[in-house]
Each structure stands twice: as C-alpha cells, then as structure tokens.
Amino acid sequence: MPRTRLKIRIVLVAALAGALVALTATVAGASRLTGTHLSGAGSTFVQPLVNKWISPVKSQLGTALTYNGVGSTGGVTAIDSRGVDMGMSDAPLSQFPGKCTNCVQMPWALAGTAVVYNLPSLPYLHISGPVLAQMFNCTITKWNAPAIKALNPGRTLPNTTIFPVHRTDGSGTTYNFTDFLSKVSSAWRNGPGTGTSVSWPSCGGNALGGSHSSGVSGVVKGQVGSIGYVDVYYAKSNSLQYMDVKNAAGKYIQPTLASFKAAGSSDTTPNSNGVISIVYPSASFPTAYPICTYTYVDVQKTGNGSQAPVIRKFLNWAIHTGQSYGPALLFQPLDPGVVTWDTNNAIPHIGS
C-alpha cells in the first residue's frame, strides 16, 4: 500500500512540474512572439504618465514597455550600469557626477510642484518664494507672522506653529522645490542649496520628514500648521490644500496646466546638454507658475544594439503622440520648440 501511494505522489508532482514548465514556456514564447520590449526606470514624478503610455505603446508600436519607479537616482544608476534601456530623472545629470557620462539627455514631460499645507478653513493662501524660504529656514516660525499676513490681507491667520515638511528620500520633487528656493533666496542658496536631497534646517524639532509623497502627505494631513511640497497631480488627487505662489511678475498663481504652459514658454530651447530650467520665470511671464520643472530621459549613446531603433521610435512617439495623455495627469504637453530640439539634437544620437 505505501508503495502505491508513493507512486501516485511521484506522478502528481511530475504532472505539476510539467504543467508549470509548459505554462512558463507558453508565456515566455508568447512575449517573444509579439514584438519588441523596452525597459525604463527612475522618477516617480513621471510614473503616472509612463504607466498611462504602456497600453497605447503596446497597441500602436507593438512594444512592451516596463517601468520601475525607483526614483530619479535609481533611474540614473540603472541607465549608467545599462540595467535598463532608458533612465528617467527629474534632476539633470549634472546632479549625479560621474554617472551616465556618455548619455543623451532630453526633456520629455513638463509638470509642477505644489506647496501643500494644513490650515483648516483657509484654502488657497498666498505665499511668495522668499517667505517660503524663510519658513523652511526657520526664520519665520508662526503662521500669523507679519510677512505672511502681508501676503494675505483680509484673512485671519492663526497663531499656529509652522511645521516645515520635507522628503526624507532623495527626490526630483525636492530638486525642483530647492531649485526654486535657491533662485528666490540667497540665504537658501548659500545654505542648504539645491539637490535631490539637502540638509534641511531642523527648526528646533519642528521640521518633519516624510518618506515618499505618501509620507509627506500623511505627515501634512496629520499635523495642523504643517507645510510641505509634492507634485501637483499627487496634491490634487489626494485633496491636499495647496497655495497660490507669487511669481516674478508679482502675481499669485495656482498650479494649473495653463500656468505650466506659461512657465514652459519662458525657455523653449534646451542647452547643449539637453537641460532647461523654467523655475521662477522672469516677470515677462505674468501667468507662469514659478515651481515648474521638466523631467528628463537619459539614454546611452552607444551599445544599445538592436534596441536603438526601438528606443528612438518610442521616444519620438512619447514627445509627439504621448504628450496628449499628459493633461489628464496634469502634465503640460511640450512646447514645439522643445519637441524640435529633442527630435534634431537628442534622438538621432541614440546609436547601436
């Protein structure tokens, strides 16, 4: 009797193993049969847009696109070591010395960073860059400080402590926000400076840190008097209060597609490295939102082999057709000048 049971067990295990092998083979074979594949990794800022692209890219280009939102630095590290076909980063490569030194860099999506806060019954407060820098630098500590009151005449501000919230993980959103603070405040520029991760003043224990946008959102929502920064799409889809930020023309601007477009129009030609900065555009752009950023895609110039045409085709699609998927996710379609630059100066350099 035990022998028959043993035999039955062996047969069952063999059948299971065989089924598993067959299944894997079919799946693997299937993906081999249906066209090309592309891998990308990096910025979580651009992730909603890239995820939206996966389905149309499959149907229109026949390419299976996979994306891993490991953060801008993770993306740059991945493309540097050729672990992926494309790296996505919110910060330009100059922020990552020594990485991806033979890469093409091009801007391919445009969005903004919202200043979120928690003061019940006080929506759409006005704020200016210098005051924001002072709040994060701990020189303004209460919400009813004269400097904030002056920006918000007619509104009653409470005597609540300000709790500045920052990202504890390295982030392109931090880069955009600190880039803005550096442009409007010399104290910030000479102090913490600009980076995907900076040394945030601790304000005697009032400065809080959150891990990823979800962490910042959780901290801000749970602490009255807190002020932080997240990308605009995240702020709006999570019902966070956000501020109207004063631009160089003295106007208080809400983060909307129109205001992103105005910011984008302030500079439509990337420099020779493919970098454009549209943070705090000049007063000639009165409707521009001052905390906008392009996000970049980095590709190795050589060594792509048979993937090169696939990458070029996809990037071409991304900067033309792909942009139409942007507005629903609060990405403003690229200015034609940027599209032209990318098409002539970046994409052709992606070689085999």
Binding site: T73, T168, G170, G195, V198, S199, G205, L208, S211, G218
Partner: protein
C-alpha cells in the same frame, strides 16, 4: 565511516560554512564600499551631526543617538510587558483564553513592517501627540526627555512602534522558558508555603533569568535593525534633541530612506559607513547573547 554519515557530515558542514561565508562576504563588501567615506571623514564621522549631500559632508551622530534611544527605549517598555505576557500564558491564563491570546500575540509578529509603519503614521502618531504625549509631559515634564509635545512623528512614536514589534519575540520565548521550569521546583516552593507570586519570583523568574536576558537581546537586535516601520513614524529629524517628542532618525531608517536616492559623490559610501556602524552594534549584541547563554549553561550544569 558509513556513506550516510559521511554525506550527513558533508552536507551539514557545507551549509554551516556557506552561511559563515555569506556573512563574511556581506561584511567585507559593506566595509569595502564604505572605505571612501572612512578615508574622507575618519572616525569623527561617528559623532558628527550633519548630513549634507549638496556639500558632500556627512556624519552619523544624530542617527546613532536615535538608534540607541529608540532601541533601548523600546526594550525598556517591551521587556516587562513581554515577560508579563509570558507569565500569563504559562502560569495564570484560564484554559479558555489561553489559545486565542497565544494566537493573537503570534499574529502581532506576523504583521508586515510597512503596514505597522503606515498605521503608526496615520493612527498612532496623532493619538500619541494629542493624548499620551501631553499627559506624559504634564507628569514628567521636569525631565527634559519629556519636553513639549508638538508633533506626531517623533522618537517616542518610533519607540512605541518598536515596542509593538519586539513584544511577540520576547513574549513567546519567555513563555517557552517558563513552561520549561521543572515542575518539581515549582511544586516544592508551593509546598513550602510560598504564594503564587513568591513562587514565580523565586523559582520561575530566577531559573529562566539568563534565557530571558537572551530573549531581550534578541528583541534588541530586532529593534536595532528595523527600518521601514521606523522611517515612516520617526519624522526624519536631523538634530540631536533631548526631547522624545521631537522628530529623529535611526541608522537603519536613514539607510532605508536614502539608499535608492543618493546624490553627491560620497553619499553612498557614507550610507554604507552607517551600515558598518549598525553591523558593529549587531555583532556586539549577538556576541553578548552568546556569552549570556554560555554562562547560563555553565550555571545550570553546576546545579
């Protein structure tokens, strides 16, 4: 020697050496990759309080402080609670609730760290800030450690979260230890007229002393290494502030938060330098546990 014995020795020996080799390889790799930070900052890295990727200057001071305070604070809270649970489950629980309570304590251990971290940030932190911290401050406020409580995410919240996480380990080991106390010793004490509490204190606790110490060190090791749950609730503080109700950070939490997002030439080596310090801690606690267990074995052997 028969073939079976030979194979057994070979396979078991290979497994043992493989795990030793793995540990050695991990340690060597981490120390090697931390070398640039060690060359740049030397030993002063261990106590400097700074983390500036823009200017490429780093120091472990605030993280070391946070690790020590949160881990030992959690142990201080969890140990008596866990020993109490162990005693309850071994000596005092009525038959009916023994099984459910044991199961619940084990389930506590099974909750993923990231879930506890999320719960900690959204539920626990505001609760502590609004109800527990002010109460503690009003009673113990003369001690600077229990200063003003303004925020939810803090060292204290991290201590509570870590207490919850290390409670099950210490509790279940304590329970096993108390169950293993020879019944003739316990009955002997009761027979001599001791009360339940005197029996527990005089027999169970003193017999299991070293085992409980080892369990506590196991819990401490767990607390030292916990990264994900801590990074959610500790508030990302950058200074050493002698107030439990302010944000802080620990070695493990800092490494977890920043490893994927480093900028600056020396940030990754600096993070690995933090990892080296954490490894040294873990090594010390592990050796300590070994020594205690060995000492206990000698003690029990002498009895």
């Amino acid at each position: 020697m028969r073939l079976g014995d030979f194979v057994l020795q070979g396979v078991a020996g290979a497994a043992a050496f493989a795990s030793l080799g793995l540990v050695a390889l991990i340690v060597i790799e981490i120390v090697h990759r931390a070398r640039p930070a060690y060359s740049a900052f030397g030993f002063s890295f261990v106590y400097r309080v700074i983390w500036d990727p823009v200017h490429d200057v780093y120091g472990a001071g605030s993280y070391l402080f946070g690790t020590v305070i949160t881990s030992f604070g959690a142990l201080l809270l969890a140990a008596p609670l866990a020993i109490g649970i162990g005693l309850f489950l071994s000596e005092l629980a009525p038959k009916g609730i023994l099984a459910p309570v044991t199961a619940l304590v084990e389930t506590l251990a099974a909750i993923p760290s990231v879930v506890i971290g999320l719960w900690g940030l959204i539920v626990l932190a505001p609760f502590l800030r609004d109800h527990v911290d002010p109460a503690l401050h009003s009673v113990l406020g003369f001690i600077p450690l229990f200063g003003q409580a303004a925020v939810g995410p803090s060292l204290f919240t991290a201590i509570i979260v870590l207490t919850i996480m290390i409670l099950p380990i210490i509790a279940s080991i304590s329970r096993e230890l108390f169950l293993a106390v020879p019944s003739e010793l316990k009955e002997g004490a009761l027979g001599l007229g001791a009360t339940r509490w005197q029996m527990v204190r005089g027999v169970s606790l003193s017999y299991s002393r070293s085992g409980i110490a080892a369990a506590m060190i196991l819990g401490l090791g767990r607390a030292l290494g916990e990264a994900i749950a801590v990074t959610q609730v500790i508030g990302g503080g950058t200074e050493i502030l002698w107030n439990l109700f302010t944000p802080g950070d620990t070695l493990a939490s800092k490494i977890a938060a920043n490893y994927q997002g480093t900028s600056g030439l020396l940030e990754t080596p600096a993070l690995l330098y933090l990892a080296t310090i954490l490894l040294v801690f873990s090594l010390i606690t592990s050796v300590l546990a070994q020594l205690i267990v060995r000492h206990a074995a000698r003690q029990h052997g002498a009895q």
